[in-house]
Amino acid sequence: MNNLLSILDLTTEEIDELIEKAQDIIAHPDYYHEKCKYKKLATLFFEPSTRTRLSFEAAMLDLGGKVMGFSEAQASSAAKGESVADTVRTVGCYVDIIAMRHPKEGAPLVASMHAGVPIINAGDGGHNHPTQTLTDLLTIKCEKGRLTNMTIGLCGDLKFGRTVHSLIEAMSRYEGIKFILISPEELKLPNYVKQEILDKKGIEYEETRDLIEAMPKLDILYMTRVQRERFFNEEDYIRLKDSYILTPEKMTYGKESLTVMHPLPRVNEISVAVDDDPRAAYFKQVSNGKFIRMALIMKLLNIK
């Protein structure tokens, strides 16, 4: 059975193929309008997520397919205590493919063992969110025309941010990638990510606390949110939070060719005044998210 549970499920060739397909969909949307006619996608969201769920649904609708599902556990039999296995076994009788978000880590793996139809992990707690990573890769490819030879700045919460770890894993597969890790001491990239991915693959990286100092070197700036609850005390949070807010003033230090990305939703880590800067690509990321999901749905349903 084809599933996408983690970005590690995909080879680099498969990632490249998905990106290529998504770019073709962007260029020729009409050609794909009926590719999934008579197919059904279930979006099983055991916790709310407006953006990801709508993106999956829009993707299937744009392929001519139909969608059904629920957007919170309370609206499903999970509220009555039904197991993930039983829920997906049932839903698998009605649909051709399932996109699932669940607050518990590993729930999509359990689903994949029982559903009988392909499962896409649309986020399982802080564990994996592979379609976000694919979205990020497509955005980089669209903005830069390549996935090789660039310096990527990752800024904010590098400790708990799953999107960051996953993006590092995915981009480390390509030639000539260098990372600049910009974060407060408290939220530095965990050692296991450095050892297991960066050191193992011999990827060049540097760590800094200073966003402004890093800005001129970057081709990509990937912002994440510094959350109040991650700090031990309020004082540290207040002292640090503004250092990692991207403002038009800080943007003046960046290259003209810089691309600014963010997995969204943002709170205040990118000033709204940056939105009009042509280098801001985070809303294009949202749009790309739909196209890469279209490519993924087709791949998992074996539709050419």
Partner: protein, 140 residues
């Protein structure tokens, strides 16, 4: 200290000192009707000190459990007072329901009937990770 030899049974030898009880429990040896001896802190040339378990009955032991707890353990099968076989122990690639995932965010924490499965991810470091949430097993 002397423990009688066994005529027919098993000798689980070269257990790291202190791990004998863990192994005794993991193999459910307490449920057996036959004589079982757990000998702790036996002097050993190779290991300094070791634990030994003698079971007065030939039974099928779960080699995966032994391998997971310590792959250096040896199992000798005794018949008519003689060693007739030695079981080769190795690190199991996967262990099922031997240890439990302690990550409160793991799906196994809410779905009680799921098997707790850990997979070997690093042979040198003997690292096992939960197949659901990838949390490293605390026990080795």
């Amino acid at each position: 200290m002397n423990i009688d030899g066994i005529t027919n049974g098993l000798v689980i030898d070269h257990i790291e000192a202190g791990k004998g009880m863990e192994l005794y429990n993991a193999l459910h040896l307490g449920d057996l009707e036959s004589s079982v001896a757990l000998i702790k802190n036996v002097t050993s040339h190779k290991m300094g000190k070791k634990d030994i378990i003698k079971v007065d009955e030939v039974l099928d032991v779960d080699l995966d459990i032994l391998g997971f707890i310590d792959p250096n353990i040896t199992v000798n099968i005794i018949k008519d007072n003689e060693i007739i076989g030695k079981k080769h122990i190795e690190l199991p690639k996967e262990v099922k329901n031997i240890i439990k995932c302690k990550n409160p965010r793991c799906i196994t924490s809410t779905e009680q009937e799921l098997p707790h499965i850990f997979r070997l991810t690093n042979i040198e470091k003997r690292t096992y990770r939960c197949i659901y949430c990838e949390t490293e097993a605390e026990h080795k």
